[in-house]
């Protein structure tokens, strides 16, 4: 296993190096996607399958597709993004020395950090029995620190609003060009794969209670299904946002908050769940969160306010 880990670390370092040094934008994107694959492998070697799932869905998958689409837009925009003159050797040396110093400082500090089992991690694992779900990561996200998770979702919503405000330069090609795919394989692929991706996303959300998975990973895979439909021309961005879409976007935050508030008279604290009801409540919250996260990611991909069905 030692050899495997060393080789993995070597490949990751080489890929990361190539990703930032290669001149061609397309090659950099391709290298980044493959780097995501290797990072997912390294997370599994570090006993963190949850992070491997997140890396697979968001890092390598969704981000790779987003970068490929962005590359198209940048290339179609014409050759006007000429590079300026390269920075002077002094600037480059200063940047290199600074980066090495920062990296060394991080390595030294992280090396001296002592893992204390009395800290939050150990406490969380000890009180897992009270959480209502078997999966430690889900228990921490939705029960022990649910307040933080709620605020994170708020951040995600703000990110979407910010991206939509800035969207105009990166908007996708008009629908007429999007549907101009001539390959007869594409419609079949989209038809066959979209239900599978949806199934996998739903499964991951549900599985979050007892094995790695959960709202974030499941939501990312659900967004992947939407992206598949957009790429296949069955779904497109729209400038108008429907009431239903808005409701779905805030569904996660609303359900999370409302459940937390409604149970206050029973338990006496915000977001305290009564014993016995924890599991159904968590699953409800997980699914509403996943729907909102998936839609948010999909809208970040299309870069539009709303969605519309296929132009017939």
């Amino acid at each position: 296993m030692m050899v495997f880990d060393s080789l993995l670390a070597l490949i990751i370092a080489a890929l990361a190096w190539r990703c930032v040094t290669v001149r061609d934008l397309f090659q950099a994107i391709v290298t980044f996607i493959v780097l995501g694959l290797m990072l997912a492998l390294s997370w599994t070697r570090l006993d963190a399958p949850d992070l491997a799932l997140a890396e697979a869905g968001i890092g390598a998958g969704l981000l790779g597709v987003l970068l490929l689409s962005t590359w198209r837009v940048v290339r179609d925009a014409g050759p006007d993004q000429g590079e300026g003159p390269p920075p002077s050797p002094w600037v480059r040396t200063a940047a290199a020395v600074g980066s090495i110093a920062l990296g060394t400082a991080f390595a030294v500090v992280l090396h001296t950090v002592e893992v204390d089992s009395d800290r939050a991690g150990g406490l969380a694992l000890e009180s897992l029995g009270e959480a209502g779900v078997e999966q430690p990561v889900t228990a921490v996200l939705l029960n022990f620190r649910s307040y933080d998770t709620l605020l994170e979702l708020g951040v995600l919503l703000m990110a979407l609003i910010g991206a939509v405000l800035l969207r105009s330069p990166l908007i996708h090609r008009p629908a007429a060009e999007d549907t101009g795919t001539e390959s007869p394989l594409l419609p079949v692929l989209v038809t066959v794969f979209t239900p599978l991706v949806l199934l996998m996303g739903t499964f991951l959300v549900w599985a979050g209670a007892h094995s790695p998975g959960g709202a974030f990973q499941g939501g990312a895979v659900l967004a992947g299904a939407g992206v598949m439909l957009v790429l296949g021309g069955r779904l497109g961005g729209d400038a108008q946002v429907s009431l239903l879409l808005r409701a779905l976007l805030i569904l996660g935050v609303s359900v999370f908050t409302v459940i937390g508030l409604l149970l206050m008279p029973l338990e006496g604290a915000f977001m305290a769940y009564p014993e016995g009801l924890v599991y159904p409540l968590m699953v409800t919250i997980e699914f509403s969160l996943a729907l909102s996260i998936g839609l948010t990611l999909l809208l970040l991909f299309t870069g539009t306010n709303g969605l519309r069905g296929a132009p017939a």
């Binding site: 490949i11 290298t31 694959l37 998958g61 597709v65 198209r72 390959s183 991951l204 990973q217 598949m228």
Partner: protein, 85 residues
């Protein structure tokens, strides 16, 4: 058995590194995307082997997600092909 599975995973990782050569050489973009698809398939193989060797059944889910997103990346690449390449 675990030793054998680990060895097989190691061999796959070596092959993965070989596949990266094609990705770096190209020469066309289609070659590079093919190399990405190949490395995706190899990663799925490694994950399946590791899930047995390390007794982590959740890795099968990771592998499944990779399979589905590999198709997505292929679709993202071929969307409205242009003739000037």
């Amino acid at each position: 058995m675990t030793a054998f599975l680990t060895l097989a995973a190691l061999v796959l990782l070596l092959l993965f590194a070989l596949g990266l050569v094609r990705m770096a050489l190209g020469p066309t973009r289609a070659d590079r995307i093919q190399a990405v698809q190949l490395s995706g398939t190899t990663t799925v193989g490694i994950l399946l082997l590791l899930s047995e060797a390390l007794a982590m059944p959740a890795l099968v889910h990771v592998a499944l997600v990779f399979v589905l997103f590999a198709a997505l990346i292929a679709v993202a690449f071929v969307r409205h092909p242009r003739s000037q390449e």
